[in-house]
Every structure is written in structure tokens, then in C-alpha cells.
Subunit: 216 residues, 2 copies
């Protein structure tokens, strides 16, 4: 039986592929493995039955015959370790690809999420305008460093890997912020990743869920 | 030759073991592997030579004969994969331990760091007092969930693993915030981890660096 992952029944991103199931869908597509999706509502995610699967009440959670996992990083790594296509064979190159997964999640994503959270939850607060330049600067510091490392390479370390997959999904969260406009090499990196057939299949699959939920 | 990691020459935590080299030191001690430390100043960390090793100008970076790595999560995982003591042999239990590493770094740490950053950089801002309850609530939500999952177990999933190592180092960053006071089971979890001889050796090693730097 194929593994099952959970995803939002009604994603707040309106089908733009910014929810964290996108990472796992894309990973499955890159390695050519089928998967099933179980859609969950926000109230369901906070219930004890779901928290037994995912203690923090988030998506995605992963389940196969023998194993329950959560955290998109852990699930992508699990898929990448068991199937060809997302990690190099060479041991050092493999460790470096995993290093980029952690860099995406631990170093680049937090200031991006912090900025998004402020834009959602503090937009009407009197301090919103005053704080935003600081939050933008924190994101830009990471983008500067990432662009410097990427240089004019196609991918972060040799061939496309799970590290690029994770980094691109993190950068895509900047969406309509405009912050990527100053980083043409990072914008091109994202476009290059989005052109991959595996990305496109994953994107269409999550978009179909949104369209079905919104009656479209 | 032993691997070398980088650490702060003068840690801003004043020897409390909150800097991210502590995670890697502790991992080396748990698996009984010797390591060397190269101390770096803040100006050195921003120079091109250091950024070649660590593109984001942070500590720790890792170097052995064949490999350069960064990100404490990636380094701890690399150590755990190559030596006995931090990951279970059973494949499913191993994947779950890695899942807890990602949960510590991606889900529990970001609101803790966000709160710390506000306390450091926004303490004198007019909005500081108004925002703090929101930041506390974000941390508490994760602590509630973590405490619920831990229950009365010693460790997050069976025996002590790299997942616990990472989670404990993340929780310790709450330090003097007082937020852990409401979570006796999490406080006891930290104490249990800190009692491990490997933790104590790592703690003493980083403390010695601080004492030497401060002439103590």
C-alpha cells in the first residue's frame, strides 16, 4: 500500500502550493513513488486522534504500514533515503545535501515565517509599519548570503537534491512580498525548480484539492 | 585526525551552553568521539574565508578530512549516522528519532528564538510590552503540545536519541524566561538530560572556553 500523507482540506494559501504538504508531494514525484492524501480540516487537526499522529496539530503527517512520521523535513529525508533521486550516492555529497535541508528549515525559513506571521496577525497594530523594515532586513540578510553562495550555479551543491527542494519551497513562501525582486539569481533558481516535471505534477495535485474544496 | 568544529571565541551566553556548538559537542561526547574546536571571533565569522565554510556566517561549522558541513542539525545527524549511541538500530525508530530533531529545529525553536530576539533587540521599543504576551503564547502552545506528547516518559520516543539531544538544547534556550516553570515534566526532562555524563563533559568544555576568554 502507498504511504498516506495529510494535507489541508481547505488550504489558506488558495492553491499556491505554499503549504508544507507541497514539499512531500514534490519529493514523492521526484523519486517516482505513488502516495495517497488524506485531507483534514482545521478542527480535525486539533483533535486528540490527529495529535496522536502529529503532536503539534499540523500538516503533513506521514503514515505507511510500519511507520508514522511528521515534520516535512523528516518526511522528505525519509523518502530521499529510501528511493533514488533526491540524494547523491557519494557520502560527502549526501551529507552536504542534507545540510542544505537543515539550512532551509533552520536558517532561511524562520525569518520568512516571522515576517509572514507579522503580516497576517499584526497588520492592524500600531507598530506594524515601524517593525516591518527590521523583519525585511532579517530576510534580506539570509537572501544575500544564499545568493552569494549559489553564485551562478543551477543548484546549491552539484545536482538537484532534497536540499534544493526544501530551499525552493522555503523561498516560495516569500510569494508576493516583493523581496525576491532584488535577487534575480534566486528568482531564476525558483523558476528552474518549478520547471521540473515532478514539481509541476505535485503543484497540480495540490491545486486540484483547492479547486475541489472551493467548488471550482 | 579528529573533526574540527567552530565555536564562539567569546560566547554571548556567558558560558551557559546555549550556543549551537553545545549540541555538536554533546553529540560527540554521547558517541565517544574526540573532536577539536577552532574558536572564531564575530568579525572573523563575517569574512569571506569563514563564509566559504559557513555561508551564513554562523557557528558551528564542521570539517573533517573529506567533508565540510554546517547547521547544527546536519552535523549532529552526520555524527549520529556514523557512530553508535544517538540513533536506534530499528529503521522505524531511527526515522522517528530524526523526526524529533526536525520538530525541535523547525517547530519548537522558531517561536523561542523569536521571543529571545524581541527581548534582546526590541526591549526599549514602545510596543515591547504589548507584543510579549503574544510571543509567550506562541512558545506556550508548543510547550503544551510537547508536554502532552512526552507524558510521563523519560524521553520522546523510547531510549534517549539525537531527537532528545536537539529538543533539550532548544528548550534550554528558554533559560531565565520563567516559561518552563509551568511545565514540571519538561523541566524534569531537561534535568534528566543535563545529568548525562556526556552532557556534562560537553558543558564543561564550552564553559572552559568562556572562562579562558574572560580571563577567569
Amino acid at each position: 500500500m502507498s504511504p498516506t500523507i495529510t494535507a489541508f482540506k481547505q488550504s489558506p494559501d488558495r492553491g499556491r502550493g505554499l503549504a508544507r504538504d507541497m514539499r512531500v508531494r514534490w519529493a514523492f514525484e521526484e523519486v517516482g513513488q505513488p502516495y495517497d492524501v488524506r485531507l483534514v480540516t482545521f478542527p480535525e487537526m486539533k483533535e486528540p486522534a490527529y495529535r496522536a499522529l502529529q503532536p503539534f496539530g499540523q500538516i503533513p503527517a506521514y503514515r505507511d504500514d510500519d511507520l508514522t512520521l511528521f515534520e516535512s523535513g523528516a518526511i522528505v529525508l525519509h523518502i530521499a533515503e529510501r528511493h533514488e533521486g533526491l540524494l547523491p550516492d557519494d557520502a560527502s555529497a549526501r551529507a552536504r545535501a542534507i545540510c542544505w535541508m537543515f539550512a532551509a528549515l533552520s536558517t532561511v525559513e524562520p525569518p520568512i515565517v516571522e515576517r509572514s506571521m507579522a503580516a497576517i496577525f499584526e497588520r492592524d497594530e500600531p507598530w506594524y509599519e515601524a517593525r516591518m523594515p527590521m523583519l525585511d532586513a532579517r530576510v534580506r540578510a539570509r537572501l544575500d548570503e544564499l545568493a552569494a553562495r549559489l553564485g551562478d550555479a543551477d543548484w546549491l551543491d552539484g545536482a538537484f537534491s532534497a536540499g534544493d527542494l526544501m530551499m525552493v519551497t522555503v523561498l516560495r513562501r516569500l510569494g508576493s512580498s516583493g523581496l525576491l525582486d532584488a535577487y534575480p539569481s534566486l528568482a531564476a533558481y525558483i523558476v528552474r525548480a518549478e520547471a521540473r516535471p515532478a514539481y509541476q505534477r505535485a503543484f497540480e495535485a495540490q491545486l486540484a484539492v483547492f479547486k475541489a474544496a472551493s467548488g471550482g
